[in-house]
């Protein structure tokens, strides 16, 4: 369906681009938020990314999905934003190395809204790279190869980020569930 609307946009139908924006805005926001950690800045980045995607649409080769191509633009813009304003956000760090991370069933049994709120807060507290990798892998269900092409992280780097991100996120979620 995206290809049909892309063809219409390339033929001059600007309104058709609205369909693409509506279809992919949540994916775009989740990707930007995982890195930027601030809704207003993330919205600006997403808007800029959509506009850039429009102006570069003639360069889009349909070898990958439009959403994947758009994600790459957003990730590049987010990385540039972080490097220019908050370089420390890109640093990876272990929150807890010696704390035994145990499975806690309370989190999984929460309703969708509470779970969403808790997960959003937890993602804010881990590094941008970890949050991005976890979100792309678990929520958007990209493979490691796809994440490699989106982010220019190496395969081993992605595995380390997944492992570390899982550990850090579990630690934060477990602490949250103990408070509930």
């Amino acid at each position: 369906m995206d290809d049909l609307y892309i063809r219409r946009v390339l033929n001059g139908d600007v309104e058709a681009y609205g369909y693409l924006v509506n279809q992919h805005q949540q994916l775009a926001m989740r990707t930007a938020m995982s890195m930027i950690k601030n809704e207003k800045d993330a919205q600006d980045i997403v808007q800029n990314s959509f506009v850039q995607a429009y102006t570069s649409l003639s360069k889009y080769r349909q070898e990958s999905k439009f959403s994947t191509w758009l994600c790459k633009i957003i990730i590049n813009k987010s990385l540039n934003f972080i490097r220019s304003r908050k370089p420390l956000m890109l640093e990876d760090h272990e929150i807890a190395d010696d704390i035994l991370v145990t499975q806690n069933e309370a989190i999984v049994n929460l309703d969708k809204e509470d779970l969403s709120r808790i997960l959003k807060n937890a993602l804010l507290r881990i590094s941008a790279k970890e949050a991005l990798t976890l979100q792309l892998y678990y929520l958007e269900e990209y493979s490691i190869e796809e994440i490699e092409s989106l982010t220019d992280f190496t395969r081993s780097n992605i595995k380390v980020l997944l492992h570390r991100g899982r550990k850090n996120l579990q630690h934060i979620l477990n602490h949250t569930s103990h408070v509930l």
Partner: protein, 106 residues
């Protein structure tokens, strides 16, 4: 991999969503503003090319007047000037409206 499975469940169940404002409307508005600016730039560029062509023609006319070549030449200076002007303006318009590859039609 129990932790990984549990995390996957948490992510999938939460259906993370963020407020995006009226993203579609805002993006389309920015795109239309961008297209309008681009058309204006193309218009000014065309004016510039025509102006440049006219300037060259006037310079040639001035050169002919000053040097008096017209009196010695077999051809009328007016015809030469008119031909030059038409050639230059035609080239400028052709360059402007030549089909460009990889562009969105606007």
């Amino acid at each position: 991999m129990r932790d990984a499975d549990e995390l996957k469940t948490i992510f999938q169940k939460s259906e993370l969503s963020y407020p995006s404002g009226d993203m579609g409307h805002v993006v389309l508005k920015r795109i239309k503003a961008h297209n309008k600016m681009k058309k204006r730039q193309q218009f000014y560029l065309l004016l510039g090319k025509i102006g440049f062509g006219v300037t060259i023609v006037l310079f040639i006319f001035y050169a002919i007047l000053v040097t008096g070549i017209e009196k010695e030449s077999h051809f009328s200076g007016v015809y030469a000037l008119t031909a030059s002007a038409m050639i230059l303006i035609t080239i400028a318009i052709q360059l402007e409206f030549m089909p460009k590859s990889n562009n969105i039609k606007s």
